[in-house]
Amino acid sequence: MEKKLEIKDLWVSHDDQMILKGVNLTLPLGEVHALMGPNGAGKSTLGKVIAGDPNYKVEKGQILMDGEDITVLEPDERARKGLFLAFQYPVEVPGVSIANFLRLALKERLGRDVPVMEFYQRVQEALKTLEWDEEILSRYLNEGFSGGEKKRNEILQLLVLKPRYAILDETDSGLDIDALKIVARGVNSMRGPEFSALVITHYQRLLNYIVPDVVHVMMDGRVVKTGGPELALELEKRGYDWLKEEVAGA
């Protein structure tokens, strides 16, 4: 069976308002896809729904991971199967050190106890990739972090937990160019046959550093166009209006 994350005719509402209106998207394992689109298209909602955010109601459709329907699973069950969402707005959890949190999360991810040395090696490697000092581990999870630090911390978790399917929700927003490069390096270091990413972004900028295999464009709760990396460049140049017309005309 082909390994992939598959979204099939997904309809999702929030406060009685339909936000996703029949999303279809396939992310084969081993590929990096970009998800672009104007504000309010439903990109972030899609990311959260795939991760299992209970604030959204799936009205219809399926989310399949390697052929298994995960639509009704709890967020933590999805995570343990290898799904990861890098949040657009990472949440602060005061009093919980990153080290402590990462170790608990890794234990869940691997389904076994993690010896200290193994944990330490994984974290060391990730910190090196992200050019981050070890002292970050004793800080409390996202508490008092700058926007950039929070984003970097999401990628730290990504590198330590090594998910199979990662959704990066506007990880580039609020990052200066240096931080952007570091974050991109982190994601690129994960690339390989056992890792997929869906990179949600407004801007072409990030895609200069994380070059996607496929680009999807969402509008008004649907994926309206899929193409190669050149599609992102075209959107950068021409904006979304031409696409809106194309969709309306079709």
């Binding site: 967020p75 999805r78 949040f87 959890v93 949190f101 999360a105």
Partner: protein, 468 residues
Amino acid sequence: MPEDLKHIADDYRWGFKDEIEPEVALKGLTPETVKKISEMKGEPAWMTEFRLKALEIFYQLPMPKWGPDLSELEKKFDEFYYYVKPPSKGPVESWDEVPEEIKKTYERLGIPEAERKVLAGVGAQYDSEVVYHNIKEELEKKGVIFVSIEEGLKKHEELFKKYFAKIVPPSDNKFAALNSAVWSGGSFVYVPPGVEVEVPLQAYFRVNTAGFGQFERTLIIVDEGAKVHYIEGCTAPLYTTEALHTGVIEIYVHKNAHSRYTTIQNWPTNMYNLVTQRAIVEEHGYHMWLDGNLGSKVTMKYPSSILKGRGARSEVLSIAFAKTGQHLDTGAKLIHLAEDTSGQIVSKSISKGEGRSSYRGLVKVNPKADRARANVECDALLIDAESKTDTYPYMEIENETAQIGHEATVSRLADDQIFYLQTRGLPEDEAAALIVRGFIEPVSKELPLEFAVELNRLIELEMEGSVG
């Protein structure tokens, strides 16, 4: 509600009951009971008189009406056992001499193991009497006294008499009077000038008899420049009848001395836990109260520090966890009597289900206490929509140079935090427990590692099945 009770019993790991028949059990609160206790302990006449007088005071003082509902308790004073003597020959210094069944209980609680690993001395009390007491030899040689309160009275009467009931007199409150009348068990600690006890001394109180009142009394004297950390833990099995725990803790911290009193109490949910804890701190002395309260039906506990000498300092760190059917009314008092005294109160409370936790605290600055500083921080975390919390911060500031800070926060267990942690693979319950552990971290980080681990485990148990 047998199902409910079963659920509580399952949650409460220490809910096991030991099959031990007491040698003596005295029920009812009368002068006869008081005399009998004193007689059985072979006390000097002054103590018998002290007890009887305290009983008179108890009768006279009204029940405190300003806090949690104690009306049920008021009707029951005659139904409790005031003295229960386990079949033991009194405090021994080897676990091998402790009766087998009782020893097993402490092994289940992990006490002998902890003693070998991390403690400088251990006292173990079973119902009314101390059954085991031991202290590392090198400390004994330096003159450190760590014995049961009864032995303290017997062997060190002069020292005992100088401090006993001087910090918390029977007239202080109704429950201090009750304790003064029927006290039994507890520790007597004396650390001579300049002696630093680097590893903690620990006492462990175990209640086993149904309908029992535990009235331990602890007196700690830390002489000039000395240092000590005393830890106390308490548990009891779960019975359908209500139980009462009314302790009195008195601590005298002399000039330049440093002391810490740590207690983690985890009582069954039908226990009235009404404790008076007070320290007097002399010039440049320091005292920390670290107080963890879990379980009980009602807890009323306000560890107090009287900052008597210039530059005396105190910190009161506390955690309270109230679940459905529980009202934990806890807090702290700082009384600044001298110049340059400083104090810090950090109170963390968690209310779950229909549980209610209240912070009640007093900061008092005497006219003479120039440049006194005090800071109060109380944070409440509500787990469910029905959970309750209230804050009663009292301030009596009679000196214009005092600097007083007060900060209170109330937060709810946030769905976005839970979701965030869940997306990292943590099940909902575990995510909630982690958030709670983070919430109390400013306090729990002050605990010795073993106790921090134990507290975290307790929190996890308390949080099971809490969300979703």
